[in-house]
């Protein structure tokens, strides 16, 4: 994969703030749901966006799907900034390329419409195939997602399908527009455990065959490891670590990633260390002060951590973290005589 290929989607400095409180009581405080998020999605790759609830990962997904408008930052689509486009034809062109799969398989389908309707609409809206080919295309889509024989499913209503089948329909609907990017917001968390792998395998297949770029939003690190090529870790609205999946998950830089990994149940890991209980929220801060947002829970903190917000620094090739201690910027490193790669040792 050469870097001269323009990534279909790239976000730079993506930021979304919401007003804290609602209605008349709307204060001037802002909830920093997403702050300065930068990444690119490459064709034929799955990028996992990992974080706990409130970390901002779902907001990033919705920003990418243009369900929200960003407060600041740019969304580059094949090199052009699309974040301020308003014309319906432009928005439609974007929507044809960037599709979304939602968390709740039942909620994302219209209960009073057939499966046929769900798949037909995107075909009609984006005019991807001539009308003679529509019936054949409907069947093709269902077969691609493993719903075989397709005729069995076309006239059914959502409540007649199982959770896994509904999610496959949702994927088929997303594929109908022939997108190059698929944003999947926790697509398996509401499915039975034994069904999840099927959906994850489908994603891997689609990535290979159709060369799609996936953004896989999840709180489940194990599934992120299973499918992802790249992992982005989010905390309180910011990306705190990013890099190749194996590197981030086997040899993490950021103390928060280390905390996550220490918390995930993994029977194969043998006897586990107890984790330290420190108070602190992993969700977006209201009017956060300058400084690292993880400082309240961090075992590695040094003075500068409460004073200066760390930047994302590549402590290893292709693997960066937002931490003054484990991935300090050159200026900080000099000031604090800290080694550039540092594995966390709790207090």
């Amino acid at each position: 994969m050469t870097s001269s290929i323009v990534a279909p989607i790239e976000v730079r400095g993506l930021t979304k703030h919401f007003a804290a409180g609602t209605g008349v009581l709307r204060s001037r405080s802002r909830v920093h749901a997403v702050d300065d998020v930068t990444f690119a999605l490459r064709p034929g790759t799955i990028t996992a966006l990992v974080g706990e609830s409130g970390s901002g990962k779902s907001t990033v997904a919705r920003l990418l799907a243009r369900l929200y408008d960003p407060t600041a930052g740019t969304v580059l689509f094949e090199g052009t900034d699309v974040s301020r486009e308003r014309r319906r034809s432009d928005v439609l062109r974007y929507r044809a390329q960037v599709q979304m799969i939602f968390q709740d398989p039942f909620g994302s389908l219209n209960p009073v419409k057939t499966i046929r309707h769900h798949l037909l609409r995107p075909l009609r809206i984006h005019k991807t195939v001539p009308s003679e080919r529509i019936d054949a295309r409907l069947r093709e889509l269902l077969e691609t997602v493993g719903l075989i024989p397709p005729d069995k499913y076309l006239e059914k209503y959502p409540h007649q399908l199982s959770g896994g089948q509904r999610q496959r329909v949702a994927i088929a609907r997303a594929l109908a527009a022939e997108p190059s990017v698929l944003v999947a917001d926790e697509p398996t968390s509401m499915l039975d455990v034994s069904i999840r792998i099927g959906i994850l395998n489908l994603m891997l297949e689609l990535k290979e065959r159709e060369r799609l770029a996936f953004l896989y939003v999840t709180h489940d690190l194990a599934s992120a490891r299973y499918v992802a090529d790249t992992v982005l870790v989010m905390y309180a609205g910011q990306i705190v670590e990013q890099g190749p999946a194996e590197a981030v998950l086997q040899d993490p830089l950021h103390p928060y990633t280390q905390l996550l990994l220490a918390s995930v149940p993994d029977p194969a890991a043998g006897v586990r260390e107890r984790i330290e209980v420190r108070k602190g929220l992993a969700s977006a801060a209201v009017d956060p002060p300058e400084g690292c947002r993880f400082v309240g829970r961090c075992p590695l903190r040094i003075d500068v951590c409460s004073e200066l917000t760390p930047e994302l620094v590549a402590a290893r090739p292709g693997h960066s973290a937002r931490c003054h201690v484990t991935a300090p910027s050159p200026a900080i490193r000099e000031d604090n005589h800290v080694e550039s790669t540092h594995s966390a040792v709790p207090d």
Binding site: R95, A96, F102, N110
Partner: protein, 308 residues
């Protein structure tokens, strides 16, 4: 005690997609079968159905000119010849009530249709679009809500020289849409953030398509309830106006019979039939609609449906 039982959310099929069922040898739509199985709506449907039947056969069971004066036959109590008796002018009350049924049902349905269409369209649009559109529509709704219906209708009716059925329908429809608009807006608000609406948006659907194609079909039961509600309110208001003599004088209606009964002081003369029969017709229709509404409410709520 704060210990709650675990609530298991059951997924229940929405009304409009319930499969048709066989009832005896007939194949009837799922929703109709459901309404017939609920005792309240069954009762309501029977009453309303009966009145619809009467309205349909009215021209055949009535005399040719129901407002004809026939002083020879005046003031007769109910008999085989005049089932409901005659008025002071000798008109056959049975025919008047039968034809009045036809008129009332048409008027009620039309007014309800107008009001419900306005309420659903504006309410859902306001909920989905939010922002400026929502503010404008809310303002409009508030204005119409504040206007007192009956005094307004009296004023308008008194002012207009042409008081045909169309005018009545328009007036009723335009004054009765506002409160249902509020309610439907509320329901649409709760649906708006459901994933399937967001999914339609990302698929590229236009606003109008989402309002009519995604949101409205999921609100059928509430819209049906709104329709029935406006229907019987329209009936009552119309009867009231007619009774006051402010109604449509060209057609025969229940209220008109009551008006003449009142003007001719029939009760004082011991003639009960000009009041009883039109009143009964009105009561039967309204009660039928009220029970139908109650049945729709019960049947629409999945929880109530399940625990039968």
């Amino acid at each position: 005690m704060s210990q709650l039982q675990p609530i298991v959310e059951q997924e229940v099929a929405p009304l409009s997609v319930i499969a048709p069922r066989r009832r005896g040898r007939l194949r009837i739509p799922g929703w109709l079968s459901l309404l017939l199985s609920n005792p309240k709506s069954r009762f309501g449907l029977t009453l309303v159905g009966f009145m619809v039947f009467v309205a349909l056969i009215a021209p055949w069971i009535s005399v040719n000119n129901p407002t004809e004066f026939n002083l020879l036959a005046a003031r007769q109590a109910p008999s085989w010849h005049h089932l409901f008796g005659t008025t002071d002018q000798g008109s056959d009350i049975f025919s008047q009530v039968a034809l009045g049924t036809r008129r009332s049902l048409i008027l009620g349905a039309a007014a309800a249709l107008l009001a419900t269409t306005l309420a659903a369209t504006l309410g859902i649009l306001a909920a989905y679009c939010g922002g400026v559109v929502d503010e404008i529509i809310n303002f409009l709704t508030s204005v119409f809500l504040v206007i007192p219906t009956i005094p307004l209708l009296i004023v308008i009716s008194g002012y207009l020289s042409n008081r045909g059925m169309l005018t009545m329908i328009l007036v009723l429809g335009l004054t009765l849409w506002a409160f249902e608009a509020r309610i439907l807006r509320g329901q649409a608000l709760s649906l708006r953030n459901r994933d399937f609406v967001q999914a339609a948006k990302t698929a590229g659907e236009s606003t109008w398509r989402i309002v009519f194609g995604e949101l409205m079909p999921n609100m059928i039961s509430r819209i049906a309830a709104a329709f029935v509600l406006v229907f019987y309110i329209a009936l009552l208001v119309d009867a009231g106006l007619e009774f006051l003599g402010l109604g449509d004088t060209s057609h025969v209606s229940w209220g008109m019979v009551l008006y003449w009964a009142q003007t001719n002081s029939t009760v004082l003369q011991g003639e009960w039939w000009p009041f009883l029969f039109p009143g009964l017709a009105l009561v039967i229709t309204v009660v039928g609609l009220v029970f139908l509404l109650a049945g729709i409410d019960e049947v629409s709520n999945p929880r109530l449906r399940q625990s039968r």
